[in-house]
Assembly symmetry: C2
Homo-oligomer: 387 residues x 2
């Protein structure tokens, strides 16, 4: 398997993008990525597109072929993958595999989603398709409910407090203020969070990521084809995808996802690095409690200490490891099928040293993208190509 690099990258802002279609967002991000890729469109041998809810919310499927057509990439295999909110990460891994295996020398991955035009009820119904509706549907459980339950377990087991969890929110909302692509950065106090609307006790409004529109794209090329790229290529050191049960009863622990632990183990082995070698990580903080769980599952933070580390500033930019310097899903937004690709876009900018909320001297970064209640997970590791 060959060494592969990310060259061109593109992203729309994430947020409420009125009057835009899910396809046009994809085309915008992909056009930016292609323009900076250092390869000609005729060299792109595969297109992978991550999307989750365009069917129910926009009445449109077959997006991979449609977007390929609009980009002038007809004829090549264009494939849409779906793994709920991990669709983007899964699409990325497939583009990497296509180039690594020699099936082609260059591939493009696009994540895209349009959600804000739909009603809250429609969005909730669409997202709930990521649950096992036979086993968990009848319980009435939703994703905020699930992370509320996890929070209660975490609090009882490790003594995690509302203020510990608020530290994650304050950090990510503050990071988002510095990210021009972010949907809703803010300077929040623990009191403001404590006074926000209850959603699924103990989860409150600021603990939840917003509903978002957006798209991101990356061009992946064989290492020997990266030399003509105008921007610093970023090496893909690991790209791992795992699966597990969608049903809650399949979890051995509400505060730990086996798919994440397994993906992390494989990714660190593939990259031949340890968690402590990382400078930054973009994690799937769909809820504040999710970031705490993920930092622990990935081994970035000792088990049970995710909230405490956030409260002590150890996961802030300038701390032990910068977690969600982009603002994360909480602040940057969560256009579900685009998120996994958008995370990698952020890490690439960090490793190039050109991020608006730069982690000083960043050389190694990780992304983690989760689908449903851990039914799918991708963990990827990236390095500056001059490292």
């Amino acid at each position: 398997m060959r060494d592969v690099m990310i060259t061109g990258i593109g992203s729309t802002p994430f947020g409420r993008l009125e009057g835009r279609s899910v396809q046009s967002l994809a085309v915008e991000a992909a056009s930016m990525a292609l323009a900076r890729s250092g390869v000609d469109r005729s060299e792109i041998g595969a297109l992978y597109l991550g999307n989750f809810v365009a069917g129910p919310l926009s009445g449109q499927e077959v997006l991979a072929g449609m977007v390929g057509d609009e980009l002038g990439l007809t004829g090549i295999p264009c494939t849409k993958v779906e793994g709920a909110c991990a669709s983007g990460g899964i699409a990325f891994r497939h583009a990497v595999m296509a180039v690594r295996s020699g099936a082609c020398d260059a591939a493009i991955v696009i994540g895209t989603e349009k959600m804000t035009h739909a009603s809250g009820g429609q969005v909730t119904q669409a997202l709930n398709c990521a649950m096992d509706n036979r086993s968990d549907g009848p319980s009435g459980l939703t994703f905020p409910g699930l992370f509320g339950l996890a929070w209660r377990v975490h609090a009882e087991r490790y003594g995690t407090t509302r203020d510990d969890v608020s530290a994650v929110v304050i950090k990510n909302k503050r990071n988002g203020l510095k990210n021009p692509l972010a949907q809703m950065g803010a300077e929040l106090s623990a009191d403001m969070i404590r006074q926000s609307l209850p959603i699924a006790d103990p989860i409150q409004l600021y603990d939840c990521c917003p509903v978002s529109d957006g798209a991101a794209a990356l061009v992946i090329v064989a290492a020997d084809r990266a030399k003509s790229a105008p921007d610093l290529p970023i090496r893909v050191r690991a790209a791992v995808q795992t699966s597990g049960p969608a049903r809650i009863s399949g979890h051995d622990d509400l505060c730990s996802y086996r798919t994440t632990r397994l993906a992390a183990e494989r990714a660190f082995a593939e990259a031949r690095i340890a968690p402590g070698d990382l400078d930054l990580a973009e994690l799937h903080d769909c809820f504040s409690m999710a970031e705490i769980i993920h930092t622990e599952d990935l081994g970035l933070v000792p088990r049970g200490q995710g909230g405490k580390w956030a409260a002590e500033g150890r996961t802030a930019v300038g701390g032990d490891i910068a977690v969600n310097a982009s603002g994360g899903l909480l602040s940057k937004g969560h256009p579900v099928g685009a998120t996994g690709v958008g995370q990698i876009f952020e890490v690439v900018r960090q490793l190039r040293g050109e991020h608006a909320n730069q982690v000083r001297g960043a050389r190694l970064g990780l992304t983690q993208n989760v689908g449903g209640a851990g039914v799918a997970c991708t963990v990827s590791i990236f390095e500056r190509s001059d490292a």
Copy 2:
């Protein structure tokens, strides 16, 4: 890239399978395939699942992970792909690529769909997500309408008659009578077809495939791992996927699909055979006119002669090339995400010499699976491994 084989195969009957879930159909077919695969479940390194309409019709996504979980295949990457009615064929190609590239030594592909529990309106709405709804939605065009237009062009250009087209229906419905998995085989006369309900003039009821439930699965292994399989392994000689525009205005000809022509050209080159070398083909006859178009695009029949060849019995079992000996979509049924995998199941049985409607001495077979109005196409070629 290594040589790969199909060992285990499985399929539910196609038809109205009441009280079944889309997941349980997948698990049933996959369990059969795994049981005859010659490899242990722990050796399966990737799962690909083709599905198109489980979101809108069953409120369930993340099927790849869920089905992997039910099969005890947790941890490995389980990926759902969507390319409308070509979802199954696309999933197959990805399972082949995973093994060919050495990413794993064995992979499983599953196609599954549950449709008959939904209303006709819901089914039509779900299937129309395969059209470009911005450009073609406002026209009111549906898939029967599209193939009705193609028919008119074909009739005007090549003199194709109602009876020529009926010959396809009569052949496929007759073939279906011999296939125990088929939804609706029948012995029809040209008169019966002529008297059936008009759907989208000139298309009548018998020109249309039914709405169906069903699932099929295949285990793909590296050639050197196929020796322990209990049944004759079937070699994958080609697995090609192409994409093109979803919008009708992107077609250069209503009677010819560029994605099919391109996929055929690449597949015959990959397999190093000519169309005339084939013994049989399973084609995407969602409508009778579609089979005529596909036989011509694939080069199985001279341009414009698809109807005439059917009328002369040259595409029947025992003719020049047996097209849709299984009954095809018209007779076997069209559980949309399962169809592409089901076609390969049929070809494997033929090449093993164990089909209920056997093509005598079959050694080389082809499948063609089409998504939407040609937005995606897969063409695959198979050979007896003792050939």
